[in-house]
């Protein structure tokens, strides 16, 4: 038994030290949130008239998009004629722009080739030789589309004039499309609706007049219908296909079944469910946003919580921690020291994870996150308190200190697991179901709770069990904040006399 405890103990200490060293060596630092360190603010102004409702919708869409990228905790608000987006950190200006500016566009791109599911390794492997002209340029290796590690073009390389490889929306890791340069944008679309025609859900598309509209569309339709080099036929299909691309993902890629269309009589069918048809029509109608937004200026902004508050918060936090340490050690003596060491273990691990995620994934540490951690510290201390009080109880009940240690840990740990599971459930639910600040809080709460369980099981428990095997422990229980057996019988005796 002690041997296993020793392995746990050494393992967790090595892990903690290694994680801390890595953090220092890699210079990982937590990315402080907008409220704590400031960041960049992008002001987007609506091109053309926009009412409040449209702007609110735009805010929601942008929020979803930014949230989809991580936990950067943006601040997004409607202004009188546009939207203001602020992101934490100062190195992210381009990202901020690319997020909210360029991706707001719907593009129509011809499909050069479809890669079925996985397997298809490198695109542009030169296998397709029958494709002439524009699509052939890729096939022969004349033009190589920029492809990221996942086999699709990264968002920053997704330029309208380039060949790109993009995935199908909602089908990650599945089909990928090699697409030609964008031929038309969402500006051409005047309206789109999900319609139930011929016993199936279809999307009715209506275009504007003119070159950026039906004329442009018909030019493409002619190319694709005839299967011209710019929009080739693929195997088993009589016509070329036109992909509708939104936010770097193919929404749908229908074949073009007619050389010419009327402005208000274009139907996209594809065995859609109603919800899919709704999605496609929404994407077509709004581009990505209900209004087109143009970035007006990008600026650096300072923290929303004043530096004075921040300093005060840090100072008071440290003093608070010190007082907690004094209290714990004063009350539980050597057990208290173990509790502090256990806190240090979970704290160091938490810091390493936050710093890593902050550097690698843009996870921002906000005041909400800090609060989550402060609570978690309270909970961590409590795990120790639950165990120690159990120990005391058992010693008072007449057990030796050593046997109490063996007996109390499983019981106390089961309590801790029960209570921590409830915390984890709430953290998980809040993470999945909410957005923004609440999400950040949930993440930190969850992380810290897991680390609390780890530190309790692998550090605090084994440490005390090891201590309990020493003679010192048996001889001086009071140094561990435990009642000595003598005190117990005296108390019981006095009670008995009083009762008699």
């Amino acid at each position: 038994m002690p041997r296993r405890q020793l392995v746990f103990l050494i393992g967790i200490v090595i892990l903690t030290v290694a994680a801390s060293v890595m953090t220092v060596v890699w210079r990982n630092e937590p990315l402080l949130g907008l409220d704590l360190q400031g960041g960049v603010s992008v002001r987007l102004v609506a091109v053309g008239p926009a009412d409040e409702e449209m702007l609110d919708q735009a805010v929601e869409i942008i929020r979803d998009r930014v949230d989809g990228l991580g936990v950067a905790e943006p601040e997004i608000s409607r202004t009188e004629n546009g939207v203001m987006v602020s992101l934490p950190g100062v190195d992210d200006q381009e990202r901020a722009l690319s997020l909210v500016g360029t991706t707001a566009e719907l593009r129509f791109r011809p499909v050069c080739r479809v890669y079925s599911a996985r397997g298809a390794s490198r695109p542009a492997s030169g296998v397709v030789s029958a494709i002439p002209a524009s699509c052939e340029a890729v096939a022969t290796g004349e033009v190589v589309p920029a492809v990221g590690p996942a086999g699709v073009t990264l968002p920053e390389d997704d330029r309208p004039g380039d060949f790109v490889v993009l995935g199908l929306r909602g089908d990650e890791g599945g089909r990928r499309y090699l697409l030609g340069p964008s031929l038309l944008t969402g500006e051409a679309v005047s309206d789109a609706d999900a319609l139930f025609i011929d016993y199936q859900w279809q999307v009715g598309l209506e275009l504007h007049e003119g070159a950026v509209g039906i004329d442009g569309f018909n030019a493409i339709a002619a190319l694709c219908f005839s299967g011209s080099p710019a929009c080739p036929r693929s195997e088993g299909v009589t016509n070329g296909r036109l992909a509708i691309v939104l936010d770097g993902q193919v929404v749908t890629a229908p074949s073009i079944r007619a050389p010419e269309f009327r402005r208000d009589a274009i139907l996209i069918s594809g065995g859609f469910e109603k919800i899919e048809a709704d999605d496609v029509s929404l994407a077509l109608r709004y581009g990505a946003l209900p209004v087109e937004l143009e970035p007006e200026n990008i600026r650096l902004v300072s923290a929303t919580i004043g530096e004075d508050s921040l300093r005060a918060g840090v100072v008071s936090g440290l003093i608070g921690l010190l007082l907690v340490a004094v209290f714990i050690v004063g009350y539980y003596r050597i057990l208290g020291l173990v509790a502090l060491a256990s806190l240090a273990v979970s704290g160091a691990l938490l810091w390493s994870i936050i710093a890593h995620l902050g550097t690698q994934s843009g996870l921002a540490l906000t005041l909400a996150g800090v609060t989550g951690m402060v609570v978690a510290i309270g909970v961590s201390v409590d795990s120790n308190v639950v165990y120690f009080e159990h120990l005391k109880e058992d010693v008072r009940d007449g057990r030796t200190a050593r046997s109490s240690v063996d007996r109390a840990f499983p019981i106390a740990f089961s309590t801790i697991v029960k209570a921590d599971t409830a915390s984890l459930i709430s953290a998980g639910l809040l993470w999945y179901l909410t957005v923004g600040a609440v999400r950040g809080f949930a993440l930190y709460l969850g992380l810290a709770t897991i680390l609390d369980l780890v530190a309790t099981y692998f550090f605090m428990g084994p440490m005390i069990r090891l201590l309990s095997t020493t003679r010192w422990f048996a001889e001086h229980p009071e140094r561990f904040g435990l009642p000595s057996s003598g005190a117990v019988s005296a108390t019981a005796g006095s009670l008995r006399r009083a009762g008699a």
């Binding site: 004075d308 008071s316 009080e389 309590t415 599971t421 009762g499």
Partner: protein, 367 residues
């Protein structure tokens, strides 16, 4: 202090059941006051929820503190002030009335520098965010209730949910009564309180489950008495945990807001502090009352109650279960004492006929 000392020594000095009635009354009144204030005065929602007015003032070299002083004189000290590109002050206030906003603009222009932009801004924490949070909360209640039902029992799930709801209502009530501004950080504080209260309640319940599991089958104590023993045994843990959780918050309150003048932290700390103590209180007094009330109605515990009463042991305050009895680790293995043996230690003040002269059972050395 003597009560604390007795708790520290592991005695059972507090007669919790005798305090339950009072606790229920106090809590009910507090909840009603909180709800009434919420209904009448509502909440003071800040910039993030309701939007407001934003001013951009070109004023190189002006510090945030200086700008805040100006806003304080305009009775809008809770404005959010940022420095943009080092020379423009971006001031956002929750003022919505256009005439007041214009007044503020004029003062800012006179005192700090030219106002370059001045416009209404929408909320950053929109209705959508609130809707999602509320939905998450409802799901949370259901899932956690199910979890407690599975791990403990449904009666405890009821108690825990009431206790958590009670704590949230009181915390929000404090914000409503004092008209503190609600910010996203406040919402986080509420969630924190909720999590804390739930955690605390589960720890208490698990102790109850343990004690009832050990002593319940002896049929010698009513559920309320076992609950009392559990609460006494877990009280020191609750107090210690509250103290260690409260210390950083009190430190934030005192040092942060008084000594260093950071007013933004103050309201946040107040909410957390209220939550921590209310959370501990509700798990010890409210959550336990509900479970005891529900359990005493069960057939089994009613029988035990009648049995114990037939021995004339129930009138008066709750019997304190002595250390020897409480130390019984396995009910089946525990030797039944002689029929005349006193089932419990009693307070010296109660003269309970029939059991008074019983000699104490010998202390068990080992299990």
């Amino acid at each position: 202090m003597s009560v604390l000392g007795a708790l520290y020594r592991g005695e059972s000095p507090v007669d919790f059941p005798s305090l339950w009635r009072r606790a229920v009354i106090v809590s009910t009144v507090a909840v009603l006051v909180g709800l009434a204030s919420f209904g009448v005065r509502g909440l003071n929602l800040g910039l993030d929820f309701e939007g407001g007015t934003s001013f951009e003032v070109r004023s190189p070299g002006t510090s945030v503190a200086e700008a805040r002083q100006v806003m304080e004189r305009l009775d809008a000290a809770d404005a959010r002030i940022q420095i943009v590109d080092g020379e423009v002050l971006l001031i956002r206030s929750d003022v919505q009335d256009p005439t007041r906003a214009t007044e503020i603009r004029d003062v800012l222009a006179a005192e700090l520098g030219p106002v370059e932009a001045f416009e209404q801004v929408g909320p950053t924490w929109g209705d959508e965010v609130t809707d999602k949070a509320v939905r998450a909360l409802l799901v949370f209640f259901i899932v956690v209730a199910l979890y407690i039902t599975v791990r403990l029992e449904w009666k405890m799930a009821v108690g825990a949910m009431v206790a958590v709801a009670h704590d949230i209502v009181l915390s929000v009530g404090v914000y409503s009564i004092l008209q503190f501004e609600i910010t996203p950080a406040t919402v986080i504080a509420f969630l924190t309180i909720m999590g804390y209260s739930l955690y605390d309640t589960i720890v208490v319940y698990d102790k109850v489950r343990e004690i009832v599991g050990r002593l319940g089958a002896t049929d010698r104590y009513t559920y309320t008495e076992l609950m009392n023993l559990s609460l006494n045994r877990v009280a020191m843990r609750s107090i210690n945990t509250s103290v260690t959780s409260a210390i950083p918050v009190v430190s934030m309150l005192l040092i942060g807001s008084l000594a260093m003048g950071a007013t933004t932290l103050r309201e946040f700390a107040v909410a957390l502090l209220v939550g921590i103590f209310v959370g501990s209180y509700s798990s010890l007094f409210l959550a336990s009352t509900i479970v005891a009330g529900l359990k005493e109605r069960e057939e089994r515990w009613r029988l035990v109650f009648q049995k114990v009463r037939s021995r004339g042991l129930v009138d008066g305050p709750t019997r304190v279960i002595g250390r020897q009895e409480a130390a019984v680790s396995d009910t089946r293995a525990a030797p039944r004492s002689s029929p005349t043996g006193g089932p419990a230690k009693r307070r010296p003040t109660i003269a309970a006929p029939g059991a008074g002269g019983a000699p104490p059972r010998p202390r068990k050395k080992k299990r």
